[in-house]
Symmetry: C2
DNA sequence: CGGTGTGAATGCTTTCACAGCC
DNA sequence: GGCTGTGAAAGCATTCACACCG
């Protein structure tokens, strides 16, 4: 498998999500252009990197294409696909403030390959007050629980002040990827993947985009 | 002001956030490289697009640089800057499920130019059960409240099923930008800015990045 | 010196355009 | 006829390298 560039990879992830919602059996790159806003040429190029010659002259078979994309990216279409292919990622939530507590609800990851299996907070009060369908621990136990439970990903919802140090601890614990809800730019070894989804940064990006036209 | 490219714009937004946390008076592009992971050359290029010749040979003055960036992007450094420059953006939350309810907490946007001033949900129950420091309305009143209150941005936290139709209604109401927490790719006129921050998409992106090395 | 600002060069991505296929 | 797959071309973004400045 040749290397897939970052923009292309992100489009393919979104494309897979879009295809999951498509009811028709077949779809063409021009139809996908309408559904995505990306040019049909770009979509064809993205797909052509995968080794799938299925689409010739009649558009793509939706289910088949989705399977090929997920295969190539190592992700799952939905929960049954996740089970069938043995792809399952344990996640933990670090920081049980308002936002973290909201994400405790596993329904957010319903029908995906992800499941939240632990929550941590530095404040023991929080772990005792809140309840979830999985255990909540004081942050002091991260170093034990994360390796023991083979948790791979972390959702970081602590305060900006503690974000960097918590992230470093997560890396020590062997975490492979972090979804970062803080507005701090985390400085971590390149081997650790980070996705930034801060609400404040998102707002500022929106505002700047509009302001510059 | 010449056009700023999207990657550059996003870096500048993050840079501003980073500068806000820097305590020193001056900073060089090499120091910024360590704080951001971006090359010093790229940082200098980004800054050179702004009309600011302040940095010559001694690094940049942190406060001054931050002010110039915010000026150029039309964003605010913090709440006092927001007041001083008269930049203030009203936002509403659409969809008061777990995630939406968590964002009701205005502390998330503490010390920013953004304030949440209304919440909407199709289910009247939700608007009655929940409480916030601003009013919650049934979705049927969006068309009245949003123009009346001059709300500019929306935070979309409805279910995937209703995301597209709700977004279209928001556009009709005159909303300028949407922060989209659903995993649906919204199809909207180009004049409306959208930032996608779906937890599920973020996870899939993380997973794909790791899986491809 | 240590550091910026910036043309020139390199490296990526996207778009074009068309052969080949159903 | 309509659509994919793909080299070639065009368009962007990043990095280099160095003149210039305090």
């Amino acid at each position: 498998m040749k290397k897939i560039s970052e923009p292309s990879r992100k489009r393919l992830v979104e494309l897979s999500q879009i295809l999951s919602a498509v009811k028709d059996e077949r779809i063409t790159s021009v139809q996908l252009e309408a559904l995505t806003g990306w040019s049909s040429a770009s979509i064809r190029k993205d797909i052509s990197q995968l080794d799938y010659a299925g689409g010739v002259s009649n558009g793509y078979k939706v289910k088949e294409l989705n399977a090929v994309i997920c295969q190539a990216l190592g992700i799952a279409q939905d929960e049954s696909d996740s089970k069938a292919r043995g792809i399952s990622h344990k996640c933990c939530i670090v920081g049980l403030g308002k936002l973290g507590a909201a994400l405790l609800e596993n329904s957010i990851f319903f029908d995906t390959a992800f499941s939240v299996t632990a929550g941590f907070d530095a404040n023991v009060n929080r772990t005792e007050i809140l309840s979830a369908s999985f255990p909540l621990y004081p942050a002091s136990r991260m170093n034990q629980i994360i390796p023991e439970e083979k948790i791979e990903y972390a959702i970081l919802t602590v305060s900006n002040e503690t974000a960097q140090s918590m992230a470093e601890r997560l890396v020590e614990c062997g975490i492979k990827g972090i979804v970062n809800y803080t507005s701090v730019k985390l400085i971590l070894p390149k081997s650790v993947a980070v996705e930034n989804v801060s609400p404040v940064t998102a707002m500022n990006n929106l505002s700047a985009k509009i302001s510059l036209g």
